[in-house]
Symmetry: D2
Subunit: 386 residues, 4 copies
């Protein structure tokens, strides 16, 4: 395994997840950047990293750093990704790739010109049984896709006392639940089925039109465990929940429900794909099992056992059957795929990871969703496609 | 328990289910009517009933018969229910109550004038844990409803060789999957939440635009087990699957997915209701368990144990916890409620079962769904409401 | 379906279950007998039966009664079954067949001489997926049996305030949890595997060495829902829980855990049979699913869908896949098998239900279990076999 | 986080698991040792480690190495652990600690004299929900323990063509399934309940009395995925499966079933602890859920959500609820606990990890199990206790 120097920007929930995944993937994590130099130093110390960077420029000036991971708030993605690419660094950017399709289209172009590797961190693709589902479909074994239903629901923003920068449209974008978690599902389903979504009909919903904001900041998922504190009331215009009707390029239909206010569901992505020969269902809260529905014989439950998986899923599996892998493992596998590609060095080869084009497509889709919601009608995704 | 004489019209899948439920509810089943006198006699013999009726008129002329159950194909419901009511018989009619809202409105009026009891067989309401869910919501314990997601999926019409009278719009109506099974879900959710659906956006989908019809007839659910036989190709215009976006009277939102082509799901109704204090999820394939999601403590799984249920659910439970009840038990409980009401004799008292008004509301809703699908837009249910 | 006259002795938990099952199986339930004439009359009225018998003799004198179901406390089984058989009545007796193997051996002989049909109510055999498991094993498809593990656990006697006649050895016998529920498992496993248990090593355990007895009587499973009342302290010498190691005739091994003090398990019988080609696991709290474990391909979950079952299981299934059947349905199916055999009239044909020989074998096994427990050593079942 | 230099001995299944866990725990993995220098170099390269050691002596001579992980075949544990301790290195040794209680007692003494930290890698203790179960019991919340049932079953040795050094008693010890996996369960249950097992009654079972050994070696869990090759027949005297009856120091009882020949169960450890106020059940194939059974209210399913866990479980959790952790995470958490203790530097403080005394106790227990099996009788564990 070839090891290169990597820096991570972002010290919130997901930055340290990248650090751990990089270590498991055998890469050399040089340092980390927080929103202030003090936060950088604190994170570096907690994570056992040599360097807490002063600024993003310092990262780009550090010759040991060959790749940069961008795990900062959404509104910073565009600028940082563009700079890093232009500075000749490989980039893995958290989703969403940018704040709008103008930016994401620009990033696609920058990445294409840069001669480096560039990925968007749609890590859920790297659950081995999601890869297996894709393989059963793209190989034709499952038969043609008839319809897809699914959901992605959480409860960490259930109460009006739950707060995070993501609820503010100027920080996270005009779509929230749909963009933060819904896009994971939308990317995953298009990846698994190999089908593009061509039209959407959306209905979004803000349960709490005001929320109480604590004086200090709150990391994603951390609010639930915090003690009460002083708050101010702030108006909220982003979606807590919402539903989509979907049309796929082959004429198949689907739906998606997204919510961050479903008590008891902590982080629960589910899909149920009905194809002509079998159905495929999966739940991220039981990620080591793929349900395979059959009409004329018993249903199946396929465990994530490398001895039972096809090549793509097996390549993304490190542990034997019954030795559960989980969420952190998806980052390791994404990074193994990415740095294997980097090590191979042929950047015209088809990338085995989600690209900036995938990231751009998601943003185009989000814009269609927002338009559909506002105009309360079906919107063809092609209306917005570059 | 007071026992009265009952006749059942219909010898397909659901007629014999009524006979068994009536016996368990301690009623006296006098006889049964099939589509021909020979079928009547055959069914009577198989079921151990004294009488195989020659005609519906013969039932109405039989003075032993105080109540009539209508379990015939949909297009016969209106006429039979109206006749039976006018002949002074109590009526339990299978859903849908009629073929359109003109008919169902008329039946409401006939029932109101008849001075007898009249129910629509929305049996799923009588799963004890559905009654318990209703109780948790209507008592305020669950908090206000935020959204509802759900599905009702089956696989018995997956292949183009699967056939039944229900696939033909002239026999079963223009809506099929939505009407046959979707309406069970829509009735159930409005019953449990106590909230009316006020607007719908529908997208329906016919997977098989032609099906191969066997020469003989095929009972509901029976096709899968039959040997191959001679077929003719017939065009199909009813829905195999479809999705709905929903708006409830309190502003809550929801979705529903319906399908009769989902391999491996035999008869699977699911709902997940997100309320302010807890979520409630249930699956008809595990009907003895209610999942209760919580934000700030462990989730719960409530088993159908009468010692743990509220009064409404306990009253609809005959067996101790762990002694599973199932689909046939819902008919028994519906009939116990109905014939208890009949025995009490006060037909102005609030009925503890789904009424013809409920049956009419479902048909109005179906018409809004069909309109929404055809016009590809949101339709307010009130547009169609009488 | 031929219908004959049946009387039921016993008005506790299980007597009314028999009445309902008989009605579903199309038999003519003439009347019922309680522990007093008043209880007989009360039960007859509640269940809508014509006759509340004064005495067991009155049943035997009633010429309409061709079959008798014995659902009285255990200590009465021997005498009632013997009398009914000698009076030329078909008999279905609840388990255990008698209080000891001397009695059960005698009953075997009486039944053999009587020229009628005689069954023990091991109803669990009639869950369709238990029949299916048996079929997979006896057909050789599953391969040779390697081992069996399992349990039968409940919680209705968890507290020392829980009381029922079964806890007293003079009422229910010296074994309690093992005999009341353990024997269901032991009968089921021997039925499914086709293998006799040849040796046992038992360790039984009384959690509550005294219990508080209410002044009145308490029906099985009913105590949990009762209000507190006056009690007296009584010493308990029957088992609340216990474990067995098992040896089967082919050399396979197994274990069983039984408990009536496991909080949260209401009535949970589980088995997991490891055979050379597949494993079979089943849980009575999800009786419509059979888990089939595979080494070299995906595991399977077989739903109780008649289109997917073999002949024996299909014959014991009344409802389509996904329309859950449960505990009450097993009695219906047992009675359908029994009264079909009665109607066929050849009592030398192999009976499709558990016989008095099966009931005797269970009692012999229980005696070996008790001896093993007391002597704290392995006991060969053959030591005790007649 | 303080980082120290660590070497790992063992390149089979579990050695690389240690390397990854050490990296996640922020420790500095210097190098690795295989069974030959060539294997050492190959493993070092694959894992991205600087050093492939020539010999165990070379590790002990490497002054950068402050801690040694022993993940070699069982028969090497004693010698390597003793040497490393005597050389002043902290040691984490895989289970079993040694081949017999004479060795393990000796190791206890060496560890006590060495003034360093010494752990046995009972990683399963570090599943957060196992820690939570322990907390519910030791705090008294669950009430006194009544009984424990459980199993640990796998399928990787189902066929007689499955082979691994562990099946040979001279390589792995006279107990196999019981020692390899059963001891994980026995350690875990004593850890969770805080109760020692005082007596055992065992029945072990060798399904395949001969196995076909491939010419080359086969890593644990790897056989299933290999191509067929030349084999020789070898006699097997270790246990493929077996059952135990257990007695705990407080009089509670239990059982355990262990098997490496249960088709479909890949690595499935289950326990169900019945206590006076609640039951606790857990399954390693769904490690993010703890089932809490209740008698008088709904059962609970507690998800591994740090916001819902007590301090001990929360300290061993890195990811938010719904972001599944799994098997690799238990090693990270064990190592975090171990190296936190090392960094604190007070080796008289109670260790927050399994000690050599725990490892010794397991071997004493295994010797009692083997004696019980051979003498076919109950054996008090104290008979063998030092």
């Amino acid at each position: 395994m070839t090891s290169i120097g990597v820096a991570v920007a972002g010290t919130g929930f997901i930055g340290p997840v990248h650090v751990e995944g990089l270590r498991r993937a055998g890469q050399n994590v040089i340092g980390i950047l927080g929103s202030t130099p003090a936060k950088s130093r604190q994170a570096a110390e907690q994570l056992g990293l040599a360097t807490g960077y002063e600024s993003f420029d310092e990262i780009l000036g550090d010759s040991r750093v060959e790749a940069v991971h961008i795990a900062t708030p959404n509104r910073l993605h565009f600028e940082m990704a563009a700079q890093a690419l232009r500075a000749g660094r490989h980039v893995i950017c958290e989703k969403p790739l940018a704040m709008n399709s103008r930016e994401s289209r620009e990033l696609m172009r920058v990445a294409a010109d840069a001669g480096v590797a560039a990925a968007v961190a749609y890590n859920i693709r790297f659950y081995p049984l999601c890869l297996e589902a894709r393989d059963r479909i793209t190989s034709g074994r499952a038969g043609s896709i008839l319809h897809v239903m699914g959901s992605y629901v959480q409860d960490w923003l259930l109460r009006d006392t739950d707060f995070n920068w993501r609820v503010l449209s100027r920080e996270g974008g005009e779509l929230r639940a749909l963009a933060d978690i819904g896009t994971h599902w939308l990317d995953l389903i298009q990846f698994i089925t190999g089908l593009r979504i061509t039209a959407v009909c959306a209905d979004l919903y803000t349960v709490h039109r005001t929320r109480r904001r604590p004086t200090g900041s709150v990391e994603t998922f951390q609010g639930k465990a915090c003690a009460p504190q002083a708050t101010t009331q702030v108006p909220i215009d982003t979606d807590d929940a919402g539903g989509l009707l979907l049309e796929f390029e082959n004429g198949a239909r689907g739906n998606l429900w997204v919510s961050q206010v479903t008590a008891g569901r902590k982080n629960c992505l589910r899909f149920e794909i009905a194809a002509a020969e079998e159905s495929l269902a999966w739940n991220s809260e039981h990620p080591n099992e793929l349900w395979i529905g059959r009409r004329d014989s018993a249903n199946e439950v396929l465990l994530r056992d490398p001895a039972l998986l096809g090549p793509a899923a097996r390549a993304a599996t490190s542990y034997p059957g019954g030795h559960n892998e989980g969420f952190p493992d998806t980052f390791k596998q994404l990074f193994r795929a990415f740095y294997g590609y980097v090590a191979a060095g042929d950047f015209r080869a088809p990338p085995p990871f989600p690209t900036f084009a995938d990231g751009h497509r998601e943003i185009v889709l989000c814009e269609a969703i927002l338009q559909s919601h506002r105009e309360r009608r079906w919107v063809a995704v092609s209306e917005n496609t570059p």
